[in-house]
């Protein structure tokens, strides 16, 4: 499944919230037909560049009085000229701002009229290509004259759904002005988003920039789409492995996944999360549990700081020092100088992967693992360091021994938990 992109109609209102540009993947910029002028287009293009949204043209019937929402009788040839002129205005400003315009979507009444009329649709597409070139993605309803015209002209077509619009049982939109036409309830919009994004019938979802509470709604839709875009793979029939984005706070992600009904356990590793369940009762879409965390960078709540005493006496200390071009003393000093974070708990009961090790002493694993590493040995492997909780085989470079430390309690489990902070205190 390809990712479903959030597009937002923008550059329409003077008091527009800048945050919408951070939420949009595509900003449909009003280019004078129904709203917008040179100043608003410049601002919109600048904000696209600042926040990483792709710029799109949003031409309309020339009807600023009714915001382009009234059906007009315009001959196809005239319409072609109007669309081309509006888009050319945006294209000129975009060239100045060095922002590519690779998307286009007709606005309001034109969107519906052109989709019902092959002649109007061809006129719109011809106007777009004239102003913007053919390296363009046309956003329009999944089926209809606009899609056909885009295909004829060799444009890419993105099938659009509306996250904030109510639908009739047959899937068609409830017309504006009728009850239920515009959704403002976050939970309903979220459900709508999941239904549309996972149904395989749309490539992009629209939120209207002028809907009341647009920022909150767009945030809801964007985070839901971001969660559904996370790669998920079955790990056998009783587990799902999820790819985690770098920025996601790991400890909160684990808690959120663990709380999903039917999830029996959740494990976080460096780049993945894995949920475990009974194959007879799998959880419903666990990725959605991460949407809230994707919505805003989590405030890093205070995590426990654990100080562990280490005697730097490991059998690989000399080799690590030699490889790093440092003295043994310097290796110990650098290792004890940092505050580490528990990135992952796994491998053995109570084993915590701590990062990041100072790059000067981040030496790779041993070419072949030791058959027997003593319990409490402190090792380095690349940018990770850790303490072997038990005597076991192991391939890390052993540089020391942890003192007075129990990594694992049979009644409570692992002592070091995901997200905990760890310092080493050098002894002797």
């Amino acid at each position: 499944m390809t990712e479903c992109l959030l597009n937002i109609d923008l550059g329409e209102l003077p008091e527009e919230d800048e945050r919408l540009y951070a939420l949009a993947r595509v900003a449909n910029i009003a280019c004078g037909g129904h709203a917008g002028d040179e100043a608003s287009m410049r601002r919109a293009l600048t904000l696209c560049a600042r926040h990483g949204a792709s710029a799109g043209a949003h031409p309309s019937y020339e009807d600023r009085g009714h915001f382009g929402r009234r059906a007009l009788e315009v001959a196809p040839e005239v319409l072609r000229g109007q669309v081309a002129e509006q888009c050319a205005r945006l294209a000129r400003l975009a060239r100045e701002a060095q922002v590519p315009v690779r998307f286009a979507k007709p606005h309001g009444a034109l969107y519906h009229a052109a989709n019902a009329s092959p002649a109007l649709a061809r006129a719109v597409v011809a106007g777009l290509v004239e102003a913007l070139g053919a390296d363009l993605t046309l956003i329009s309803p999944p089926e209809g004259a606009l899609r056909d015209a885009a295909n004829e002209a060799g444009l890419t077509h993105a099938r659009e759904g509306f996250a904030d619009r109510g639908t009739r049982p047959d899937g068609s939109l409830i017309p504006r002005g009728q009850p239920g036409a515009v959704l403002t309830d976050a939970a309903r919009i979220r459900d709508n988003t999941v239904r549309l994004a996972t149904g395989g019938t749309v490539d992009t979802l629209c939120v209207h920039g002028d809907t009341p509470g647009a920022v909150e709604l767009a945030r809801e839709v964007r985070s839901t789409l971001d969660a559904l875009a996370l790669r998920v793979e079955p790990l056998g029939e009783g587990a799902l492995r999820l790819q985690l984005p770098q920025a996601l706070e790991r400890r909160l992600a684990r808690e959120a996944l663990r709380a999903v009904p039917h999830v029996l356990d959740a494990v976080i590793t460096e780049e993945h999360a894995c949920v475990y369940f009974d194959p007879a009762a799998p959880p419903e879409e666990p990725r959605l549990a991460l949407a809230e965390l994707l919505r805003a960078p989590a405030s890093t709540a205070a995590t426990p700081l654990v100080t562990l005493r280490v005697r730097y006496d490991g059998p690989d200390l000399d080799k690590v020092a030699e490889r790093a071009g440092l003295t043994v003393d310097a290796v110990a000093r650098l290792h004890a100088a940092r505050e580490y974070t528990v990135r992952c708990v796994g491998f053995l009961p109570g084993f915590a992967y701590l990062g990041d090790v100072d790059p000067r002493i981040a030496v790779p694993r041993l070419p072949s693992p030791r058959v027997r590493v003593p319990a409490l040995a402190v090792g380095i492997a690349g940018e990770r360091t850790g303490i072997y909780p038990f005597t076991s085989p192991g391939g890390w470079n052993l540089i020391g021994t942890a003192l007075d430390f129990t990594a694992f309690h049979p009644d409570r489990g692992a002592v070091l938990q995901l997200g905990d902070r760890v310092r080493f205190e050098r002894v002797g």
Binding site: L235, V267, Y276, P279, V345, P349, F408, A414
Partner: protein, 291 residues
Amino acid sequence: MAGWLEMAGGGGPAMVQDGGRAGQMHHGVPPGGALVPELLAQANLAVGNTWGAAALECLGRLELRVRGRSARVAVDGRVFSVAEGEAFTVPPPEHTSVRYVAVDGGLEVPEVLGGRGTLLVAKLGGHEGRLLRNGDALPLGHPRGHARTLDVTAALDADAAVRVLLGPDTERFDPLMAASLQGSAFAVSPATDRVGMRLHGPALSHGDEGSGTSRPMVRGAIQVTLSGEPIVLGPDHPTTGGYPLIATVIRADWGRLGARRPGAPVRFHAVSLEEARDAWRAHTRLLHGGD
């Protein structure tokens, strides 16, 4: 009066195992549990226990004695009565890798993190977290329930293919390797234990250099080492690992594979997620004695 099971003489390795401890992977604790759940279930059901009650998992001959009461004892599916104080011998497994000795009422060793099984690497669970020794005494629970028989012939068919779900790291392998996994004859390596089963056979090459970070693991996952050797993760597997996974043995076949002794042939057959789920539902009914 409650009794206990006594190790009355030397013998091959044996330890306490049960149905496993779910939900502790985030502590780095693998699920554990019987290497061959079907044989554990067969022995337990034969003396009226629930399928996953704690019992002995034996790799060799054992001399045992019941103290404090008489008992019904099952060795795999074979049941006999033992008088208070009477010693009896359990022969080593003949056709399977392990065998199970269940006593009516089950072995009431303390529950640790939701399970009674032994996790040797962490010296946890079972009897003092270790293999059993001469003189060890294991407390018995109160007998309850009625005996049932369990036919494990089909589940443990030594000639049947072991079913797998391909992936999830398929793209890290040469495209021909999924076919090679299914089309080749493998054999169980002697270097096999509860942590993992190594397989002899054609190398399953991949482009990894071992630089990847650790990823979540699951029992049954087939990880492939840098030299191309497949290792099927067993009940006491490391909870995370860095080798790519070419496929995962479906749960219904964990015992079918685990029961095979060193040298035994292994063939793999890929199934769909739906087939794996259906097989698991049927298998769950089997383990519970058809209820």
